[in-house]
């Protein structure tokens, strides 16, 4: 290829990238798989996420950890390949493959160069993983032991202990209460049949989203989607999750831990992904404790008093109400002071809401920083997965800036007053003696 032609090609590629919001193409396969695709040719790569409503919220009673174990076992055998065969098929071609399973979602992520000779075999293996995992019994024993070891390692961490305890107290008998990693009892009880059943029920077309970003023509994308996911049985969407109950009174749980710091978690059930209060709560939280070093909690606890390295609050929007969490860690001697400060900062925010200056500053931050959210294929595929999984409008990204700009201080104050009751907080305190 001559230099001139190369330059021309580069110019063409560059101009394709100047879109403000990515142009999302969406279609549904015959078996119900919802496909979201963004064409992007600047880099010769493709990013694929397959998402199922198959997270730990779907673990049956007594089988905590099933969803994550099923996901982890996908790479242990599929079609006629064993674990080594699967790993080599991907890695011989430089393909990166990973699986993760949280409370709502189980995600399979694949990243490949876009040349057909590399991509095509990788897609074939991924299809086998989706359709025909073998869940070998011997692998299950090994992975069970490894999961148990990982559980023990988490028990070394006061932060992990605080996090798990917080969810357990906050959610009680709701399926969000247990950690996706499961517990000893659940992991020990799991059988191969449990995995097969979980896979059969949830890894189906009507319960799946396929998100793709990268160097494919729309025609190739359509073919690839069909080849990858077109043969999944249709099945049914996962059932609605139970309603999240709000606490009737404050609950405080204290746990001794041989650490130099105390980890605090305070919160309540927060909001779901399609919540009508989404933007007022999201923006309000940014002012309260979501804006990194620039927030009220950070100002009171870190900047003014040097009490903590990391202090924050956030809403985790989920299928049903995910938690609103305020958290920090401080030397044991300062635990009560920090606890009081978190509570009074929240109370003050609920009583008076944000100032106009604070609101304006956050609106500038969120709108001015919007291009950063969609500046890579990796980021965009993440948004596609969320849009698909939670059934958000295709215009979600375009709507973001106007929605942020429309929020008023009064709406924030009103939403926080209705949704967060400072007298009914769940408080978890994990740490050492003073």
């Amino acid at each position: 290829m001559s230099v001139k032609r190369l330059v021309l090609l580069c110019l063409l590629w560059a101009s394709a990238g100047a879109l403000a919001s990515p142009d999302i193409q969406h279609w549904t396969l015959d078996n119900g798989v919802r496909v979201y695709f963004v064409e992007s040719h600047e880099l010769p790569m493709l990013q694929i996420s397959v998402v199922f409503d198959a997270g730990s919220a779907r673990d049956p009673a007594g089988r905590n950890g099933l969803a994550r174990m099923t996901a982890a076992m996908l790479k242990e055998g599929a079609g006629n390949r064993d674990a080594d065969g699967i790993a080599r098929s991907f890695e011989d071609r430089g393909v990166q493959f990973s699986v993760s399973s949280k409370r709502d979602m189980t995600l399979l992520n694949l990243r490949s160069l876009s040349q057909a000779e590399l991509l095509k075999p990788a897609v074939g293996v991924l299809r086998d993983i989706l359709l025909a995992p073998t869940f070998p019994a011997s692998s299950l024993e090994r992975e069970r032991q490894r999961a148990l070891v990982a559980l023990r390692q988490e028990a070394e961490s006061p932060a992990a202990v605080a996090e798990k305890t917080f969810f357990r107290v906050l959610y009680g008998s709701h399926p969000y209460a247990h950690h996706p990693a499961g517990d000893e009892q659940g992991l020990k009880a799991l059988t191969r049949e449990d995995l097969v059943r979980h896979h059969r029920e949830y890894y189906v077309g009507a319960n799946a989203v396929l998100a793709m970003v990268g160097d494919l023509s729309p025609r190739r994308a359509k073919r690839l989607a069909r080849r990858l996911a077109g043969r999944l049985p249709r099945g049914r969407p996962a059932a609605a999750l139970p309603e999240v109950l709000r606490p009737d009174s404050a609950v405080e749980q204290r746990m001794e831990f041989p650490s130099t710091q105390t980890h605090l978690r305070l919160g309540q059930p927060g909001m779901h992904r399609k919540d009508p209060d989404y933007f007022p709560l999201y923006i309000g939280n940014h002012i309260l404790g979501g804006g990194g070093l620039v927030s009220r909690l950070s100002e009171e606890i870190r900047e003014k008093r040097g009490l903590s390295y990391s202090v924050y609050s956030y809403f985790a929007p989920m299928r049903v109400e995910g938690p609103f969490t305020m958290g920090l860690q401080t030397r044991n001697a300062e635990r009560d002071k920090a606890l009081t400060l978190v509570r009074t900062t929240l109370q003050e925010f609920i009583d008076n809401g944000p100032t106009e200056e604070e609101l304006l500053a956050v609106q500038k931050n969120l709108t001015g920083g919007f291009p950063l959210r969609i500046d890579s294929n990796q980021n965009i595929v993440g948004y596609l997965a969320v849009i698909g999984f939670y059934d958000l409008p295709l215009s979600y990204l375009e709507d973001f800036i106007p929605a942020v700009q429309a929020v008023t201080a009064a709406q924030i104050r009103d939403a926080f007053r209705r949704r967060i009751d400072p007298d009914k907080l769940v408080t978890v305190v994990v740490g050492g003696e003073r």
């Binding site: 290829m1 190369l6 090609l9 580069c10 560059a14 990238g17 100047a18 600047e42 880099l43 010769p44 790569m45 790479k75 674990a83 790993a87 080599r88 991907f90 890695e91 011989d92 071609r93 430089g94 990166q96 160069l113 040349q115 000779e117 590399l118 075999p121 090994r142 032991q145 490894r146 070891v149 023990r152 028990a155 070394e156 961490s157 932060a159 831990f257 041989p258 650490s259 130099t260 710091q261 990194g292 070093l293 620039v294 040097g306 009490l307 390295y309 401080t330 500053a361 500038k364 931050n365 969120l366 001015g368 920083g369 919007f370 291009p371 950063l372 969609i374 500046d375 890579s376 990796q378």
Partner: protein, 459 residues
């Protein structure tokens, strides 16, 4: 099999695509005051990342002042002659920016990510705090507490991190890499504003920094902006201390950490070289990178396949080797035994793997796999403007040429199985080994709260 021809095809077409995404898109200049400015074009999104890298890190810290580079990094957000404490962050936030900073063994760096038209704001603020920092006793006292909380969070209450800290202090006896980046708690307690002021004066100057910008920008315009904001700053006369070289290790070293924990944990490390400047003698560093890939480059690599799945002696293993640095580094292996196995069995299994590397050459299939992964990862890395800037800044700050990014894939592709065997034989030997073991103490047992350390040398 098909897989044996694929990587070659892969290379060709990536090289073509790469011509559009790399090549001359990175340009550099040096201002009269010594500030090096490197600009990478990436027009995919209307964003820009700006990073300023100072050539000062834990490696430069004398005994008694460990952690000072990192504390100074924290203080850089605490006001200048023009700005109030915290105002820097508020301005960046109001402009939709993300910002932070990081301190390493070899460098201290600050960054902002912004919509592209706001780059001048970043330059104005960074230029200001390069020369006009206002250190104040009261702010310092508070921030020192924050850093101590950071140390408690990341090290004191993390048994594996405590083991790592002890490991480094065992593997290095003289060289400053023996000390933790965040500093020893006793040194933090003794730190003064005066010491910080001196450290700032000594290292924060345009002739000790590299400015890296990657994004939807034109290099010429960025150079002009850099001249406008950074050009007027006075250079310093730098007097870097001569760093003590680590004497060659002659015999196995070891140490032990007892801390409240659930699991035993093993760290092993061998002294190895880093890239020295792109010449032919650099082949060892490339061969070590390939070796790390053979052992731990994914789920098909030897450790996952043989130790986790085959023998089931490990619950988890990691291999790490960073080929860039201002001083020789360690080739590190760490792991947790699987249930029913002890540290000794894990270590023996790892040692058997290393022996195998020394005895027989790796297969062509393995070599090709590692190379295919490097080729692909190079493209994947270009998906992030931030990681592009990181690669440039890191290379320049350790004294290498950023253009090595372009030759990296080519050089890895030249590594042979014989070279991998040669570095395994030369470096992965007992007399060059340091091993540290975490000995877990019951978490519920109150009297075991304090970590206990022990060690031996030249056994």
């Amino acid at each position: 099999m098909i897989k044996n021809v694929l990587p070659i095809i892969g290379l060709l077409s990536v090289a073509l695509a790469g011509a559009c995404t790399k090549g001359p898109v990175v340009q550099e200049t040096t201002l009269d005051n010594g500030l090096k400015v490197i600009v990478g074009k990436d027009h995919r999104a209307p964003v820009v990342v700006s990073q300023i890298w100072y050539k000062v890190g834990a490696i430069d810290e004398p005994s008694g002042l460990t952690g000072i580079s990192h504390v100074l990094e924290h203080m850089m957000f605490k006001g200048t002659r023009r700005l109030e404490p915290g105002e820097f962050s508020r301005i960046i936030a109001e402009n939709g920016g993300r910002e932070n900073a990081f301190t390493g063994r070899d460098y201290t760096a600050y960054f902002q990510q912004l919509e592209k038209s706001r780059l001048p704001i970043s330059f104005e603020l960074e230029a200001d705090r390069m020369r006009n920092l206002q250190l104040n006793e009261q702010e310092f006292r508070k921030e020192l507490q924050v850093v101590m909380e950071e140390r408690r969070l990341r090290t004191e209450d993390q048994p594996q991190a405590l083991a790592y800290e002890k490991f480094m202090a065992t593997a290095y006896r003289v060289h400053p890499y023996k000390d933790p980046i965040i500093g020893w708690m006793d040194d933090l307690q003794g730190l003064t504003v005066k010491a910080l002021q001196d450290w700032y004066q000594r290292w924060y100057a345009p002739n000790n920094a590299t400015l890296v910008v990657v994004g939807d920008v034109e290099p010429k315009e960025v150079f002009a902006l850099a001249e406008k904001y950074f050009g007027p700053l006075e250079p310093s006369s730098l007097n870097p201390a001569v760093l003590p070289a680590e004497p060659q290790q002659k015999a196995l070293r070891g140490s032990r950490v007892s801390a409240p924990a659930e699991l035993p944990y093993l760290i092993m490390g061998y002294h190895v070289p880093v890239l020295s400047g792109g010449g032919d003698d650099d082949w060892e560093a490339y061969a070590l990178s390939v070796l790390a890939g053979v052992l731990d480059g994914g789920n098909s690599a030897r450790f996952a396949s043989d130790l986790v799945r085959g023998q089931q002696v490990a619950a988890q293993t990691d291999v790490s080797y960073g080929a860039t640095g201002r001083a020789p580094t360690l080739f590190m292996i760490d792991g947790t035994p699987a249930k029913g196995h002890g540290i000794d069995e894990l270590e023996q299994a790892i040692q058997a793997q290393l022996k195998r590397l020394q005895k027989e050459r790796i297969s062509e299939a393995e070599l090709k796999r590692v190379k295919a992964q490097v080729v692909a990862a190079d493209v994947f890395g270009r998906d992030s403007v931030f990681s592009q800037a990181m690669r440039i800044g890191k290379l320049e700050t350790v004294g290498l040429d950023h253009r090595m990014i372009d030759s990296y894939v080519r050089r890895v592709n030249k590594v042979t199985a014989a070279q991998v065997q040669a570095v395994a034989r030369k470096y992965l030997v007992e007399s060059n080994l340091t091993r540290t073991v975490l000995d877990p103490q019951p978490i519920n047992q109150q009297e075991q709260r304090k970590p206990v350390e022990g060690g031996f040398d030249e056994r």
